[in-house]
């Protein structure tokens, strides 16, 4: 178990079923303040399902407590308002709207609560991703894959999340851009954002994370400090084989 004092996110025995098929069974995990925690595992292991259930997009059984409060039934709007953010695998951008509108909508909850520092946040996002500043008038649909991912992350950051959940941020991106994204993940932690990272690029994920869970067929198969898992022979065999050695270079 990830031993942390008053964890930001604590999930206990979370199960999700699609009809009769159980996609996630009794998964438990914790993310501490300022930690980067990663969940790795093969395709179809239930990683995306896990994140969707935590934020309440999917119905689930089990306990999710975030920032010291137990959610009987996680509801997206409530959790987003309390500082949980998700960058989904599909990005889910507002494709016909401009980059800047996308970002501003990311801060919608704060706007509703009359937060006066939205413009400052917008500037921070632009300084993190200068590319978005260049393209701020363009429609989101016209961006390249990497820029879209930056926009998706930037949009989520506009809500000033306490915990940011990233679903496969490197999926479909060119190696150099992947490296850029991982650099930014490390940088975000420096700004006090905790991160729950779901990745297929296990080597890069283990390198950046503090603690890691391995999810297989809907269950937590292994867990431990990331550095320790990275040297575990079972993990090396399954996820860090010679074939994936180039991933290490991308993570550096």
């Amino acid at each position: 178990m990830n031993q942390v004092n008053n964890p930001l996110l604590e999930v206990k025995d979370l199960s999700v079923a699609y009809g009769k098929v159980e996609a996630l069974s009794n998964a438990s995990l914790a993310v501490g303040q300022g930690q980067i925690v990663t969940v790795i595992g093969p395709n179809g292991a239930g990683k995306t399902t896990l994140l969707s259930a935590i934020i309440g997009v999917l119905g689930s059984r089990g306990q999710v407590s975030f920032d010291g409060r137990l959610e009987a039934v996680p509801e997206v709007e409530v959790l987003v308002g309390r500082g949980l953010g998700l960058v989904p695998e599909k990005r889910e951008l507002f494709s016909s709207m401009s980059v800047e509108d996308n970002l501003k909508l990311g801060g919608f909850m704060r706007y509703r609560q009359r937060d006066r520092y939205l413009d400052a946040s917008l500037m921070e996002v632009y300084s993190l991703f200068p590319r978005l500043l260049e393209r701020r008038k363009q429609a989101a649909a016209t961006l390249s894959g990497g820029e879209r991912q930056m926009l998706a992350v930037g949009r989520a950051l506009m809500a000033k999340p306490k915990l940011l959940m990233l679903d496969e941020p490197s999926l479909g991106l060119a190696p150099l851009i992947t490296r850029e994204i991982f650099r930014i993940i490390a940088q975000l932690r420096g700004q006090g954002v905790s991160i729950l990272l779901v990745e297929q690029n296990a080597r890069a994920a283990l390198k950046v994370a503090d603690y890691a869970y391995v999810l297989e067929t809907g269950q937590v198969a292994m867990q431990g400090p990331a550095a320790q898992l990275a040297t575990d022979p079972r993990v090396i065999d399954a996820y860090l084989g010679a074939a994936s050695k180039h991933q290490a270079m991308l993570a550096s």
Binding site: I55, A72, E92, L93, L105, R155
Partner: protein, 345 residues
């Protein structure tokens, strides 16, 4: 046909066209945000017009009781839903506010000297009564099935329409109603005198269209509604609740419908069941805009108004036939050149 007749018909056409344009925009707005084809749009028009007429006759309108009943049901359902979600039995401030609002309306329709109020106050009271119906209808009939297919939503929409026509008969009776114009003055323009009500219709429609344009183009709330239409999941993850978006669009639809009703009540006699044909014409406009483009829909609706006015002159028996035949070439054209686009990932 001489110039004077053409101008008169044109005035008629543009007046009706402006109303159809408002309804077309409203139908489009509701459809893009919620995927519901709002058949009861016309009922907001008749409810608005008939409520205004009842108020001008100085009678307390029973609509206030309907609103109260719907609100009580909604609050009860909300409390129940919250209890089931494990958050205990709690009545929050929003609910109390809604109930207080309805109670205040019931009291005011019985105790205010309705007939002697200035027209603006009567119109305001009508709006206060009719607009909240929009979000109530969404909450009670559409929110529970928000995830259903557009076909199911359409069927429910038709059911709501039929029910509202029936309730309209109960509330307002079978007689038609016409209200007094906002002002008596006219405007001389060459050979024709422009009816003052026409000017009111045109001015207020224009103001409303510009307001809608600014709301969606500039304000973050407008953009949030637009975002719900573009990508529902994305919007949810930003904390933009689809329920809130649905209620907001229904409130806007009710507002637009009710205002249109108040505006045209002095020009045409409306009955409890007149709403459907009016909103259908707005719908033709919306179809011309392909259910996506706001300016095209508004222009289309304006064209519908003009075609209607001129066909009334040339072939008055076939007026409706001609108007609704308009839709066929556009449907053909749309079906030929549209191609299905996957939702962007």
């Amino acid at each position: 046909m001489n110039l004077q007749i053409a101008l008169l018909l044109g005035q008629d056409g543009v007046t009706n066209g402006a109303i159809y344009a408002l309804l077309a925009l409203s139908i489009l707005l509701v459809f893009t945000v919620t995927r519901i084809l709002l058949i009861p749009q016309g009922e907001f028009v008749t409810y608005g017009a008939l409520t205004m007429a009842t108020i001008q006759a100085g009678e307390p309108t029973p609509l206030a009781w309907l609103l109260l009943a719907l609100t009580v049901t909604e609050c009860a359902l909300d409390v129940l839903a919250r209890y089931r979600a494990g958050r205990g039995l709690r009545v929050d401030r929003g609910m109390l506010g809604k109930l207080a609002w309805c109670a205040a309306l019931v009291i005011s329709v019985y105790h205010l000297p309705l007939a002697s109020l200035p027209v603006a106050a009567q119109a305001l009271l009508t709006l206060c009564l009719v607009v909240p119906l929009g979000p109530r209808l969404y909450r009670l009939f559409f929110q529970p099935i928000a995830g259903a297919t557009p076909l199911v939503l359409l069927i429910v929409s038709i059911a709501v329409h039929v029910a509202m026509v029936g309730v309209g008969l109960l509330l307002f009776g079978p007689e038609g109603a016409r209200t007094t114009p906002f002002s008596q003055a006219g405007l001389e323009l060459g050979p024709v005198t422009l009816n003052s009500q026409t000017l009111w219709v045109l001015a207020l429609s224009l103001v409303l269209i510009i307001a809608l344009f600014l709301f969606f183009g500039r304000s973050l709330y407008g953009k949030a509604l637009q975002a719900t239409a573009v990508n529902r999941n994305g919007a949810r993850l930003m904390g933009i609740s689809p329920e809130l978006a649905g209620k907001a669009t229904f409130a806007m639809a009710a507002f637009i419908g009710c205002l249109s009703g108040i505006l045209i009540a002095p020009i045409t006699t409306l009955y409890f069941d007149s709403g459907f044909i009016i909103s259908l014409k707005g719908f033709v406009g919306a179809i011309i805009g392909g259910l996506v483009s706001y300016p095209l829909a508004a222009l289309g609706a304006l064209a519908v108004g003009l075609v209607e006015a001129f066909s009334m002159f040339w072939a008055s028996n076939y007026k409706e036939v001609i108007v609704f035949t308009l839709i066929i070439p556009f449907l053909l054209w749309r079906s030929l050149r549209s191609h299905h686009v996957e939702e962007d990932a």
